[in-house]
Symmetry: C2
Subunit: 393 residues, 2 copies
C-alpha cells in the first residue's frame, strides 16, 4: 500500500452496491466492514477482520457507510426564485406564472457571478446531503450565449453536463418553433458541444413533439453527445419510446407509461429515472416504480432540483418518497440513488464501493441505510468523502 | 440597553408569530427587520431602520428569521430501533412485532447511560433542525422505576415532561387492565408527579378506553398535572371529546374526527395537534387540517418522534407534509409549528418573537419561511439561538 492509503474501519454496515462484494444482494451489504482508500480510489473492501494493514486508520464507530449518491438529473444553473408560485400552487390559488420562461428571463438577466454563486451553493448543499456525482443541465438560457455560459458554469462542478437548449421554446420563437429547432441544431449546438457530454430534450405537449425531439437528439448524437430524454411527465407521450429507440441512457420522469413503454424500457438499456420530488412538489400522482421493477427495467432516482417543479436537492428525501409513495423497498431505493444513477450516466466508476471505483462515500449517523426512509427529513449524512477526501464545509 | 444586548440585523424577512408585530397577519411578517436580544429575551423587534443602538451587532445577511419550533409531542426516552419493522411495513411484508411493547422491553433493559445518550442525541438533532422547545413523554417504561427514570432523563432537557404511563397496557398486566389503572393512578402517579408537568393517555382501541382514560387523567389533574390526550389516531373514538370535556391543552393525532369532534375542538381551548410524520411513516390517511382550520380550531404541528410509528425529528419535514398533504399554506404550517405548539403547551414565552419572549430563533438559509415547504428535505436551518445564545454543534 502507498503512504496515502487510509483504512476506514469500524463500519457497522457497508453498502458496496455490487452483488460481487458482500451478501450477494444487489446492494452488496457487508456487516462489520472496512474500506481501504488509496489515491482517491477504493483499493479494498471487505470484513474488517480481514483488512490489510495501512498507514492511517479512521473509525466509522459502527455506523453505516454507503456510496455517494449519484444525482443524474438536475437544473442548477439559474437565477431567481419561484417560491410565490409554489405557495400559490399549494393553496390552489390562481397565479400568473410563465413557468420555465420566468426562470429563463431571470437567468438571462443575471450576471455570471450570480449564476456561478447559485450553482456553487447548490452543489455544496447537495454534497452535504451525500451527493458526490451530479448531472447538471443547461436550459434556462435558450440563447447561444446563455446556453454556453450555463454549461461552462456547470462544467466547473461536474463532467456530467447536459445541453438542454430544448427545454422549452423561448418566447421570442413562440411563433417559429422550426426556427428554434434550426438554432438548436445549428449555431447553439456548435457552441455547446465542447462543454457538454449529453443532449436532452423535454419531449412533452407544450414543449417539443417527437419529431422535433428526434431532430435535436440525432443532431447532438451526430456531434458526439449522448442522448437522454425528459419523457412522459405530464401525460402519455412519445418520449419514452423515442428514448429507447435512440438508445438514450435514460428516460426521465416516466410518470405516465403505457404497457409498450414499460416493455421498451425493460428490454432496452435505457434507464427509467424517477423524480418523485417533482410529484411531491406539484401534488401529482407518483410514477409506478413497482410496475417498472417487476417488468425488469433499471430504475434510477434523482432530484430534478430546479426552481419551478421541485426545489429539493435532497437525495435522502427522494429515497424516503420512493419508499413511502412508490413502494420501493429501502434497499431498492438506495440502489437506485447510487448504482441506478451511475447506470443512467453510463458511469462504472461511481455509485459503488468496489476496488477501482472512486472513493466517494458517506458515513450516516445511523446503523443502516434503512434509516434514510425510516427517519425522513432528518439530516443523517455525517461525513462525505469525495475522491477519498472527507469534505470540509 | 445593558452591555449584554445584541442586535440581529439584516433580517430579510422576520416572522414574529404575532399579529401585533409586523404586517398584521397571524404570522406577523416584517421585511428588512432586526431583533434586539437582551439577557436571553427579546427586547425589541421591528424594521431594521428603527432599531435602537446596542453593543453587539450580528448580520442575518438578508435571510429569513423565525421563532424556534415548538415540538409539542415527542417520545425520546427509549432504547432499541425498529428499522426492520419499518422496512417490513413499507414492503407490506408480515413482521412479528410487539409494537410499543417491543420498545418497552428494550427500554427497561437499557442502562441509564444508554437512555440518557439517546435522549441527548435526539434533542441535539432537533435543535439543529430549529426546535428550541420540546415536550418529551415517558411511556416506554410502564413500571414505577422505569417511568420515573424516563421523566428524570427527559427533565434534564425540558420543563415540558409528560407522564404517559398510560401509553399501552404492559404485557404483565395484559389480563388485568384494572390492576394497571390502579398502579397508574396510585404508586406510579405518586412517583412521577414531581418530574412531570403533564399527564397523557393513549385513548384508542387496543390501548385505553374512555373510562380508563378519564380515570387516569382526572387522577393526574387532582395531583396538579395538566391533561393532554392521544386521540382518534387509528379510528373514530372518544379521545377528542374527552380531551375537550376535561379542558386538555391538546388532543393529539385527530386523524378520524366526527363533526361533533370538530365542533368540540373549535369551541374549546383544546388545540388539535396534528402529527403528519406518523401518517407518512405508516402510509395512513392524513388528518383533515383544512376542516379543522375552517371550523376555527387551533391547529398545532408536531413530530411525534418515536421509534415505531414515526422516527422523524424534523419540524421542517412536518411543515412540508402539512403543506403537501394537509393543504395548509406555508404560513399556516409555520404558525402551527411555532405559535400553535406553544398554545398546545400553554406557553406564552416561546413560539413567538415579541418583546419579553425567550430569544429562541432560527436563521434559515433562505429568504422566506415558504422555503421550508418549497425546498422539502433540504437542511435549511443555518443557525439556532436558544435563550439568546447561538447554538454550537
Amino acid at each position: 500500500m502507498a503512504a496515502s492509503s487510509v483504512l476506514l474501519d469500524g463500519i457497522g454496515l457497508l453498502v458496496t452496491g455490487s452483488s460481487d462484494y458482500g451478501d450477494g444482494s444487489p446492494l452488496g451489504e457487508v456487516e462489520d466492514a472496512a474500506i481501504v482508500v488509496d489515491q482517491g480510489r477504493v483499493a479494498w473492501v471487505g470484513p474488517a477482520a480481514a483488512a490489510p494493514p495501512v498507514d492511517v486508520r479512521e473509525d466509522a464507530s459502527g455506523r453505516c457507510v454507503l456510496p455517494g449518491f449519484v444525482d443524474s438529473h438536475s437544473h442548477l444553473v439559474f437565477a431567481g426564485d419561484r417560491a410565490a408560485e409554489f405557495d400559490a400552487r399549494m393553496a390552489g390559488r390562481a397565479y400568473q406564472s410563465g413557468g420555465i420562461r420566468t426562470t429563463v428571463t431571470a437567468t438571462r438577466a443575471a450576471s455570471d457571478e450570480v449564476l456561478a454563486a447559485n450553482v456553487a451553493r447548490l452543489v455544496t448543499e447537495m454534497r452535504r446531503q451525500g451527493t458526490t456525482t451530479v448531472e447538471i443541465k443547461s436550459g434556462y438560457g435558450l440563447t447561444v450565449r446563455d446556453e454556453v455560459r450555463s454549461l461552462v458554469l456547470a462544467r466547473q462542478h461536474t463532467d456530467e453536463t447536459t445541453f438542454l437548449g430544448a427545454h422549452v421554446v423561448p418566447k421570442e420563437f413562440a411563433d417559429d418553433v422550426a426556427g428554434y429547432v434550426e438554432l438548436l441544431t445549428g449555431d447553439m449546438l456548435d457552441a455547446c458541444v465542447p462543454h457538454s457530454r449529453w443532449v436532452d430534450v423535454f419531449c412533452e405537449r407544450g414543449a417539443f413533439d417527437a419529431d422535433a425531439a428526434r431532430t435535436v437528439l440525432t443532431a447532438g448524437m451526430a456531434r458526439g453527445l449522448r442522448p437522454r430524454v425528459h419523457a412522459n411527465q405530464l401525460g402519455p407521450g412519445p418520449g419514452v419510446a423515442l428514448a429507447c429507440e435512440l438508445g438514450a441512457a435514460s428516460a426521465d420522469h416516466c410518470t405516465y407509461l403505457t404497457d409498450a413503454d414499460v416493455d421498451a424500457l425493460a428490454s432496452s438499456g435505457t434507464v427509467a429515472t424517477l423524480l418523485p420530488g417533482v410529484e411531491f412538489s406539484t401534488r401529482s400522482p407518483y410514477p409506478e416504480a413497482r410496475r417498472l421493477l417487476e417488468a425488469g427495467a433499471v430504475v434510477a432516482i434523482a432530484t430534478d432540483c430546479n426552481p419551478g417543479s421541485c426545489f429539493t436537492s435532497s437525495m435522502p428525501f427522494c429515497i424516503a418518497l420512493a419508499v413511502r409513495e412508490m413502494r420501493m423497498t429501502p434497499a431498492e431505493a438506495v440502489w437506485s440513488a447510487t448504482v441506478g444513477g451511475a447506470v443512467a450516466l453510463r458511469r462504472a466508476d461511481v455509485g459503488r464501493l468496489v476496488p477501482g471505483a472512486r472513493a466517494d462515500l458517506m458515513v450516516l449517523d445511523a446503523p443502516s441505510y434503512v434509516h434514510l426512509a425510516y427517519r425522513p427529513g432528518v439530516p443523517l449524512v455525517a461525513t462525505v468523502w469525495h475522491e477519498g477526501k472527507p469534505s470540509p464545509w
